[in-house]
Amino acid sequence: MGLQRGHRAHPLEWMVERLIFAVSLSTIALLLLILVFIGRETLPLLFGHTNSALIQEVIPASEMDRLPTEELRRYLDMTPSQFRSMDRDTLLAIMKTREEAEAEIPGPFRQDPDARVNTLGWRYLLLPHAWTGYDQPEFVWQPVGTIHKYNIVPLLVGSLKVTLIGLLFAVPVSLGAALFVSQLAPPRLREWAKPAIELLAGIPSVVMGVFALLVLASLMQRLFGYQYRLNAFVAGIALGLTAVPLIFSIAEDALSSVPRGYTEAALALGASRWQTASRIVLPAALPGVFAAVVLGFGRCIGETMVVLMVSGNASTLSWSLFDSTRSITATIAAEMAEAVTGGPHYQLLFLLGTLLFVVTFVTNLAGDLVVHRLKARLEGTA
């Protein structure tokens, strides 16, 4: 239905059509804006311009006039335009404040080697470090206190752990249900089972969080008898429940779009319903099923409220499924309010957000591609 030919559009109509085109750009523009503006907040950190060391080099205010202006600007951490707008007295006052702030750091920290490191260096973000008071090198995320420790490994592990548990629960259950509903169930059961399962998608994640927090957590603890009521396992199961509708409906779509000829041929050759479903339909729809799993992964790793409420929020590194844990999303949600805008902690939370965006972008792209190919193939052969 392209533009009609032979019929010249009115200038007004031409303009409106351009406008429609411009609006259709919005989705692409928004996606770029998200990437640019989340990435932008974390740029100083990525380029090593942010220093979070407790004790930083201090230049006495009396020496201000001897410093070259460029060096002074960099020392005061200002943009050129900010710097130009300051008069001499203000600059002097700022330098004095820095001097006084340095003088107020309590004595014990002066000897502490940790107080002088920039805890935002990649080394400290990713590798274990033997902080003062720790016996051995450890991964520590502790953005409050005097010395801020920003090791993101516990959060990455937390996110992956919860996501994997969620998928291990959600994938078999959703695929089983999708196979049953699309191939095996009597038509009348199918009529209402499908919308009912999709109704799960209408439950907001905060409600799922409340349910998991008050009902599921106690039930699971009684069943499995572990120590902490809120842990990665419960969070994973609850997370899985939020991902079920997505995985189910994509997989069900893929299974239902396998041409009827396939099933009829198999049944005519004497295969049972189960044999047809598991050996003919499922393999034919396999890419769609794969896409469902990939998109389910993206959904799980990005889910916030359930994990925030049910995982116990302990940011320590642990591989045990029954320890309290904390994900990237929950960390952003819980700590953004107390992070100073533009400060090291703020930049780091945006870094985590950028990471999340990139990961989900890649999984979505992959899932999308697979679904498209499958559709083209099945429709081509039908």
């Binding site: 692409i28 079920v244 999340l356």
Partner: protein, 296 residues
């Protein structure tokens, strides 16, 4: 046989879970639900069952989804019109738009929150403040306006996909008849295609509202307030929100057992809101599909 039993069991498990969730919420929430609870503002302590109430939260959530609708509907519908009526199928640009829509739908909700904070509030909002020369932050702070806009970005794919589906359901013959009678392309779209697609477009809007009404993560730092003494009076005010209030009640109560009944009552109100919207959308869509099948 075993396979059928296992997959049947998976289906039963999911249906059972749904029933348990709804059952728990209804059974535990209903006793505390009263007219006073939904029609007044909380006096004093909102963790205390005696004085707890949710009217400001209902109002806050309503305002934010309404403002969101104002922004998301035109953009979503126009994009869908472009995709179905104007775009050449398979051109690189069309494909790019589709990829962008699918990706936007998969961006985690907390990332939208970061976007609202980093772009809308800290960049656009502060930009407006510095241009208008406001004393102190006015636009450059969390507010119901920025929260609504954040949600509009988030629900854009929902509206586009639903609208597109309903536009594609309009028979090509209808368009051709209109064009043959001398109507221009735009006249056909505005006077023939869009009115016929209205139920589907409304479905998209309702689905977007129902999705947005329960979302908490994107508004955590773009506008939701822990407590406010008055209703939001202007778009730059913060607001209390049903979903966020649920989160607060569930995690920050000094006395969990005492708060439990009102927590479930709040959840019940929230679920009633999102489910009734969903149900309407499902019914409208079913009708549209039936009409479409009858027509083709």
């Amino acid at each position: 046989m075993l396979g059928t039993a296992l997959t049947g069991f998976a289906t039963a498990l999911l249906l059972l879970t749904l029933a348990v969730i709804l059952g728990t919420v209804i059974l535990q929430g209903l006793p505390s639900l009263s007219w006073r609870f939904v029609s007044t503002a909380p006096r004093r302590d909102f963790f205390d069952p005696q004085s707890a109430a949710v009217l400001p939260m209902i109002i806050g959530t309503t305002i934010r989804v309404l403002v969101m609708t104002v922004f998301v509907m035109p953009v979503g519908v126009i994009t869908a019109v472009y995709l179905t009526e104007y775009a050449r199928a398979g051109s690189p640009y069309t494909r790019a738009v589709r990829v962008a829509i699918n990706n936007l739908a998969g961006v985690p909700s907390i990332v939208f929150g970061l976007f609202g904070l980093g772009f809308l509030i800290n960049f656009v909002g502060r930009g407006i403040d510095s241009v208008t020369g406001a004393v102190g932050p006015h636009w450059g702070q969390p507010s119901v306006f920025w929260a609504s806009l954040t949600l509009a970005v988030m629900t854009l794919p929902v509206v586009i996909v639903a609208t597109e589906e309903s536009l594609r359901a309009i028979p090509v013959g209808l368009r051709e008849a209109s064009l043959a009678l001398g109507a221009t392309k735009l006249e056909t779209v505005v006077q023939i295609v869009l009115p016929n697609a209205l139920p589907g477009i409304l479905t998209g809007g309702i689905l977007a509202v129902s999705r947005a009404a329960g979302e908490v993560a994107p508004i955590l730092f773009t506008g939701a307030a822990y407590y406010m003494a008055h209703f939001p009076r202007q778009l730059t005010d913060q607001f209390m929100d049903l979903g966020y209030h649920t989160y607060v009640l569930a995690t920050q109560s000094p006395n969990v057992e005492q708060t439990r009944p009102i927590l479930f009552a709040t959840v019940l109100v929230l679920l009633a809101l999102t489910f009734s919207l969903n149900a309407v959308a499902i019914i409208v869509r079913a009708r549209v599909r039936r009409a479409q099948r009858a027509g083709s």
